[in-house]
């Protein structure tokens, strides 16, 4: 497969009367996008807003983040199986509005977290303080069942990304990244001496607000499955998860999965990258045993020498992570795990909900209980009532000057377990 990600560098977003990219400035036709989204009769209203890096703006509660793109060559523009007809992804040319993001806001339930601060202390902790964000706040008609509400918001975000992405169709890119990899047989012939490495990407797959989709298939329903890395980079995986703000994998992070990109960078040099195994994190114990066995079996069948495993979430998924690790290490496959930890406010509690002595190589992407103080924003996009939810975690976290003490838990992408951000933990 050969995929070209053609980046058009976006330096600002403006709302206006047309949808274009000129000299790096993305202009979005506000009325047209709103009426496009309102074609879905479940949507009562849409509010659009722009948040730029450095502005004293807080976005809350963020549901998903999506990168606007358009496929100009090859099959499957948009998100096949979800927003467009089924197509085989992974080949072709995609124009990417790089530096722009669609950020959907929608409080499906009152306890959603998901803060993006565009400035100051908060900006440090989220990768999405660095993107120009078109915030799409979706207000549904009354009386929608929660899962219909979730679907509505999810689809609206994807649709908005497609609509905005179209603006890049005939724009010359600033840089072109090429991702090319043949079949296992071909690559093994090319690199017979390089160690074979697979990437296991775990997805929360447990029900409403706890789901992921692969070509539109709810990951609850699958056995672990093998993808060519290009498929995920081309939009095959999307997020339906909106509870674990700090460590959920947003759609944007699937499109730009850092673990895939960093393994790709080594492909043909130090490793032979075999591909991505998507593994559901189920809720039943038997289900967990089955997926963990199956994942290990796939790695073994592929002849992997090493495997990187990334988790999504904290709590029961820790068991899956460590079970997969144990099975792989027991069969002689070297693993590195990427996970965040929950070591308490003082960093002195046991970091994971489960332990395994086989997990000797672990990357920690931060303590989700690490407390940060976020100063008051000049402007809140979304629902400032959601801030009260953040403040409700414990006594005394709302300071007199209006700053808010919260755990990294609430910050979008802070402790991304695909290693998208730079947080780590050091023992002091």
């Amino acid at each position: 497969m050969k995929l070209e990600l053609r980046r058009i560098h976006i330096k600002d977003i403006q709302l206006g009367n047309e949808t274009t990219v000129k000299n790096g400035v993305l202009t979005v036709n506000k009325e047209e996008l709103i009426s496009k989204l309102k074609e879905d009769e479940r949507i009562k209203d849409v509010k659009l807003d722009v948040a730029r890096p450095g502005e004293k703006v807080r976005i809350i509660p963020v549901k998903d983040v999506i990168e606007p793109r358009v496929k100009i060559e090859g099959e499957g523009n948009g998100f096949p199986g979800v927003s467009t007809k089924m197509a085989q992804l992974g080949d072709g040319k995609v124009n990417v509005l790089y530096g722009a993001a669609i950020v959907t806001v929608g409080d499906i339930v009152g306890f959603q977290e998901g803060v993006v601060d565009m400035w100051g202390e908060g900006a440090k902790w989220t990768p999405f303080s660095q993107t120009f964000n078109l915030v799409v706040d979706i207000i549904p008609v009354e009386g929608l069942a929660p899962h219909v509400h979730e679907t509505t918001v999810r689809l609206a975000g994807l649709k908005a990304a497609e609509f905005v992405g179209e603006a890049g169709r005939s724009v010359e890119p600033d840089e072109v990244l090429v991702y090319e990899m043949g079949s296992h047989a071909e690559e093994s012939k090319k690199y017979p001496d390089l160690p074979k490495v697979a990437y296991v990407e775990m997805l929360i797959s447990q029900g409403l607000l706890h789901d992921g989709y692969i070509y539109g298939v709810n990951s609850q329903l699958i056995l672990p499955t093998l993808l060519h890395p290009n498929e995920e980079l081309d939009g095959a995986v999307i997020s339906g998860n909106c509870v674990a703000a700090c460590d959920k994998i947003t759609t944007y992070q699937h499109q730009n999965n850092s673990a895939i990109l960093d393994l790709y960078a080594e492909h043909g040099k130090t490793i032979n990258f075999l591909g991505v195994i998507l593994t559901p994190e189920l809720t039943t114990l038997e289900g967990k045993f089955r997926t963990c066995d199956y994942t290990a079996k796939l790695c073994k069948s592929l002849g992997a020498d090493g495997v990187i495993i990334s988790e999504e979430g904290y709590g029961n998924p820790d068991s899956d992570l460590l079970m997969i690790c144990k099975r792989l290490e027991d069969s002689g496959i070297k693993t590195v795990l990427i996970t965040d930890e929950c070591s308490g406010w003082d960093g002195m509690s046991q970091p994971l909900a489960d332990t395994a002595k086989e997990a000797i190589a672990v990357v920690s992407t931060g303590n989700v209980s690490h407390v940060v103080t976020l100063p008051p924003a000049d402007r809140v996009i979304g629902n400032d009532k959601a801030i009260a939810t953040l403040a409700g975690g414990w006594e005394g976290c709302l300071e007199e000057d209006g700053s808010l003490k919260c755990e990294l838990n609430a910050v979008i992408g802070a402790t991304s377990e695909i290693g998208y951000h730079n947080c780590t933990v050091k023992l002091y």
Partner: protein, 127 residues
């Protein structure tokens, strides 16, 4: 695998009590539900779904529903270990935090939705 679908739901969620017949209702907290499950596991019940949620936020929930079923085999260490560890973990987190009662109704709703998914999964996996 025994073809035995006779599960029971240990819950403190009033919505679940209303909607299901196979309920062991616990008048009490999330923690009390964990205790009840522990007691059942130690007397030979099988733990069907993991007692903990998939994010720290779900620890704040006032409600939790956990599926168990009677098992004629002797107590399995995996179930005992899982529920005991879950209790330790729950207590660790909630010793410094508040249960989010303000959003109680939403948690009740999501708990019921997650239970529904877990039961669907149970039917898929355990037959």
């Amino acid at each position: 695998m025994k073809n035995n679908m006779s599960y029971q739901i240990v819950t403190n969620n009033p919505n679940v009590k209303k909607d299901y017949k196979e309920v062991i209702f616990v008048e009490g907290s999330f923690e009390d539900v964990l205790f009840k499950v522990r007691d059942l596991v130690h007397t030979g019940f099988e733990l069907i779904n993991h007692p903990l949620g998939a994010s720290l936020r779900m620890f704040f929930s006032p409600y939790r529903s956990i599926i168990v079923r009677e098992n004629i085999d002797k107590t399995n260490n995996i179930y005992a270990e899982t529920i005991e560890n879950s209790i330790v973990n729950y207590q660790k987190h909630m010793s410094v935090r508040n249960v989010d009662v303000v959003n109680g109704e939403d948690y009740a709703l999501i708990d019921a939705e997650l239970l529904k998914s877990a039961l669907d999964e149970y039917e898929r996996v355990y037959n």
